[in-house]
Amino acid sequence: MRSLTATMRSAFAEAWSNRSGFWLQVSIMIVNDLVWVVFWVLFFREAGSVRGWDTQQVLMLQAILTTGGGIVLGFFNNARRLGQLAADGALDATLVLPVPTLPHLLVRRVETTNLGDLIFGVALFVIGCDPTWSRIAIYLAGSLISVITLTGFLVAIGSLSFFFGRNEAGELGFHAMVMFAMYPVDVFTGPGRAVLYSVIPAAFIASVPAKLAESFDLGMALGMIGAAVVFATVGYTMFTLGLRRYTSGSAWTRA
């Protein structure tokens, strides 16, 4: 634990001293998130409600998504870069240290601009989501669980590059995840919807906790926790198995 906090402190100091245009970047992040809020407000002003979703619920979705996503991309930025690091053979510096490999890697890079998302998420929740005690509890728990699920998913798809040597799947999965998590899951029907509850668990990242804030459902809550456990396990296992096949950049740079 001491080694993880020390690593995180260094990562933070590193990111902070390299923050050229920091406030500009953060404002850009916030404007981006704000535009989506504008879209949803305009949409529901016209539509009233769609498949059980209304403005307040979709704002809760946005708040949890930007909070959870901001934490993952801000504090565990390597979750997203893992596949590239593995393919490039850039894990050596970590592997020669007596630290738990995956946790150390995850906290080894901080991206300050993504903290703009986090700031936005918290602000949106406080201002736009009617923070009663029960909603605060669901917002916090939902964000935490979405951090776990998202990290697990990113680690799992990133680990594929241990097996294939390239990271296309990782990039693709990341973009698909971000895109699908943004919309209320009930917009999707049929097999597409099933995918978002399983292989690409976008539903659990933001839609499900937002639904729970509106009307609590124990089964749904347990499903969400279950998904977090499953993806954390799958991510960890795939990383561990993949690491055995780590080539330290030798296989792909030769010949």
């Binding site: 592997l95 240290l97 010949a255």
Partner: protein, 314 residues
Amino acid sequence: MTIEVEQLSKSFSTGRAKRRTLVEAVRDISFSVEAGERLAYIGPNGAGKSTSIKMLTGILRPDSGAASVLGITPWTHRKQLARRIGTLFGQRSQLWFELTSLQSFRMLGAIFDMSDLQLATRVGELGELLDATEVFAMPVRNLSLGQRMRCELAACMLHEPEILFLDEPTIGLDLLGKQLFRDLVIRLNEERGTTILLTSHDVADIESVANRVIVINHGSVIYDDDVEVMRRSLFTTKRVEVGLERPVIVPEIAGAQLVEHTETVARFVVDTSKRSIRDVVDAILEHLPVADLSIVDPPLDEVIGAIYSQLAVE
């Protein structure tokens, strides 16, 4: 034995999906190292040096064979081993680029469970040893390569490792930087008894640092002996390059074999065990219109070629 390697092999698959081929990076290598040795592990680029070191530090798993480092199998107990060895990979840094080395040391200290006092004492010692106390306090971004390498060396020695693995540590350093670095490594070894395993493709690294040499090529060990022995048989070869003031016919010069001759340049190979380099140079200066003269070591591939031909003869 500090390091024991038995028939270690490792292959990588290369190329794109359909045309995948296996390349044997390391093939059945065996050797052992005693505590306190300074071993140079040399070979041309792509010979399997890095792959070997990465297996001995637990980063890579071998396909077959066995190895024991300080009594530990590296790839099954990598983290346990990591507490007792230090590694420096020339191209991969352990330091944070934007921070000072001291800040990086603080993280490493926490990772190696050192108390603040232990760390401060150790950093003080290393600062003195490496003559780098001030350099430690500067952001790594602003350091020259030589300064950075000293900081890297300090980083991998914070926890007083019993073995140091140095992979191409002098790559990119200027002549003076290389010499300083070599002296340091020797001092570490002599004062603390740290075992050194060093890879390089610079012949000078081997001559001045190592007391034993293993040559690896195409994944196999082709030579393993004391540097003294190798020096006697191989480092007695020098090349002499002479820039000529005007085109001339080059006369026979005893002890030197003319290997190349143009209007402006003459190149000789000298066997210094037969005639001293001084005598040969004197003779050249006397008989040729010399504009410029340099004496160089044969490049490593020539040394290895020589080892090969010797092996073939024996």
